[in-house]
Amino acid sequence: MRPLRIALTKGRLENETVKLLEKLGYDCTAVREKGRRLILPVGDGSLEVVLAKAADVVTYVENGVCDMGVVGKDVIMEMGGTFFEVADLGFGRCRFAVAALAGTDLYEGYHTRRIASKYVNVARSYFEKKQVDVDVVKIEGSVELAPVLGLADAIVDIVETGTTLKENGLSVVEEICPVSARLIVNVAGMKMRKEEIGAFVSAVEREIASRAGK
């Protein structure tokens, strides 16, 4: 049987996950010294790490080519999909928020607000739930620019410390929800390889619990 395959979001979540895996006793030398390779064996060969962009982690897990994945809740909320979201790994913490130019009232007046975001689905569904009509504009790069340049009334984005917002004259209007890295599992894989995946998830849960206890 092929090794369990876990897709990691490249970058900071990858580093945090590698630390977690090493804590669980997996030898991650191959990942630390990966060069340009994207599929890497870790530990005794029972686990294989795939490095991917965040959105692709969700796609790989949903389609079952990877059994598990580590990805931010922000991406899960934006993409949706069918998979099990078994654990909150506790790192990569930030939050989704609505932000507007400091000193302005976003909900004043009756014009339809224009919202700029990289997370168009999150933005749309948030305002749908609030039953507020908005035009959502997709922005790929620094979303903070949009209200400053006058393209949008507000933005929906992930906020960590709020420094970037402040430096651009924006302030948080509303918090939408907290975000952190999640461990996700393919639906069929969870059932067909219950023993292996179950053992891995339990080990991860124990480690998170002991960290939370500290």
């Binding site: 979201e85 654990a87 969870m190």
Partner: protein, 392 residues
């Protein structure tokens, strides 16, 4: 005018070719036989149904998941998104006078609007059955045995997974929490979000139902799940459903399906639709479920006939799996008729060989050399030139 879309198919659809059609036909034929041998009679319901047929299905078939169009009178129609609802309509209306229970099978394409660029199909080929008008243990076992045999025809390594929605429903009835929280609880159980679920239920820790709900998504696996569940669940309704599920499980073990049947008490995906057993089938190497079914005793009442029903459907594309290109066998024989007068003789010879079970193609070339080239190109096993004189 420049046409952009004249050489491609719409997203979510594709051409299904040669090897794959053969494999799909193999699967659907085997299933049709299996269903027919158990007394299930096939029906074909239309691809177009009135939108109103799905009017009460909004909980599990949201309107944005259906393709809609209008008929000549401007009435709203849908491309049929599922196999069961039209059969419920049929059973409650023109089949209402038939001997009950009704055993019905179908094979059709369903259409669902799926999120863009997710690699998911908009056209879903399904084979399925419904057993209508029976709610006994025998009825449930009949359908489960069929589901198991159906999976068996699709692959060697398969699992049939069971749940009883009564467990979840009983716990939720006992839980004293606001409506918004309840839906979130259901979602957390469905997605096995262990941590989120226990955070969500933390304020209700004192309630016995909350303790059960927190453990529900972890209660999956083999027979050991029953013991574990009995230790956790306390409300009588949940225990009653659990006992029924165990009875079903033991019967399936007796049928020799023991190692293949698994449990997941956290299958709550369509909690509003199903009323009893829920089951899913998986094949090794296929990332999504291949078979899906359950008991839906409330659906036919929507059409004015209060009848219990249970059934399942297989996703034929998932059941067929990946099909390698070029795995279709070449014709056994290519024949060539050099002269016009030889054509009748060649066709007769072709027919004779087909009688022996061979696949025979008559070349359209008159020149035997060109015909031979064709035979070699397609990889035919044999080549022969047929002339009328030879036959005489």
């Amino acid at each position: 005018m420049v046409r952009i879309y004249d050489k491609i198919t719409p997203e979510g659809t594709r051409d299904i070719l040669f090897e794959e059609t053969r494999r799909r036909r193999g699967v659907t034929d085997a299933l049709a036989q299996l269903f027919a041998a158990r007394g299930y009679r096939e029906v074909v319901t239309p691809t177009l149904e009135f939108y109103d047929v799905y009017g009460k299905a909004a909980d599990y078939l949201p309107q944005e998941s259906m393709y809609k169009l209008t008929d000549a009178k401007g009435r709203l129609m849908v491309l049929c998104p599922d196999g069961t609802v039209p059969i419920a309509r049929l059973a409650a209306t023109r089949l209402a006078g038939e001997v009950m229970p009704l055993r019905v099978s179908y094979h059709k394409n369903n259409y669902r609007v799926s999120p863009e660029l997710k690699g998911r199909s908009a056209q879903i080929e399904q084979s399925g059955i419904e057993l209508i008008g029976a709610s006994s243990l025998r009825a449930d076992l009949e359908v489960l045995e069929m589901a198991a045999r159906s999976l068996e025809t699709c692959g060697d390594t398969w699992r049939l997974e069971l749940c009883h929605i009564g467990i979840f429903r009983a716990l939720m009835e006992e839980l004293d929490a606001p409506e918004a929280t309840r839906e979130e609880v259901r979602l957390c159980i469905e997605q096995k979000s262990y941590a989120a679920l226990s955070d969500l239920l933390a304020p209700y820790r004192g309630q016995a139902a909350a303790a059960g709900l927190i453990r529900l998504p972890r209660l999956f696996g083999g027979a050991e799940v029953f013991e574990e569940a009995r230790g956790i669940l306390s409300c009588p309704g949940a225990l009653e459903s659990l006992a029924y599920l165990e009875t079903v499980f033991r019967h399936l073990e007796k049928m020799g399906l023991g190692g293949r049947v698994i449990l997941d008490l956290g299958l709550v995906n369509q909690a509003e639709y199903y009323t009893g057993l829920i089951f899913k089938g998986y094949l090794d190497g296929v990332g999504s479920e291949v078979l899906s079914g359950g008991r839906y005793d409330g659906l036919l009442a929507d059409f004015g006939a209060d009848l219990p029903a249970v059934g399942f459907a297989l996703d034929i594309a998932a059941a067929t799996g990946e099909v390698p290109e070029g795995s279709l066998p070449a014709p056994d024989v290519v024949l060539c008729a050099p002269e016009e007068e030889d054509i009748a003789a060649a066709l007769e010879e072709a027919q004779r060989l087909r009688g022996e079970g061979l696949v025979v193609v008559l070349s359209d070339e008159a020149d035997p050399e060109l015909a031979l080239c064709y035979a070699k190109a397609v990889g035919a096993g044999r080549f022969a030139v047929v002339t009328a004189e030879e036959e005489a």
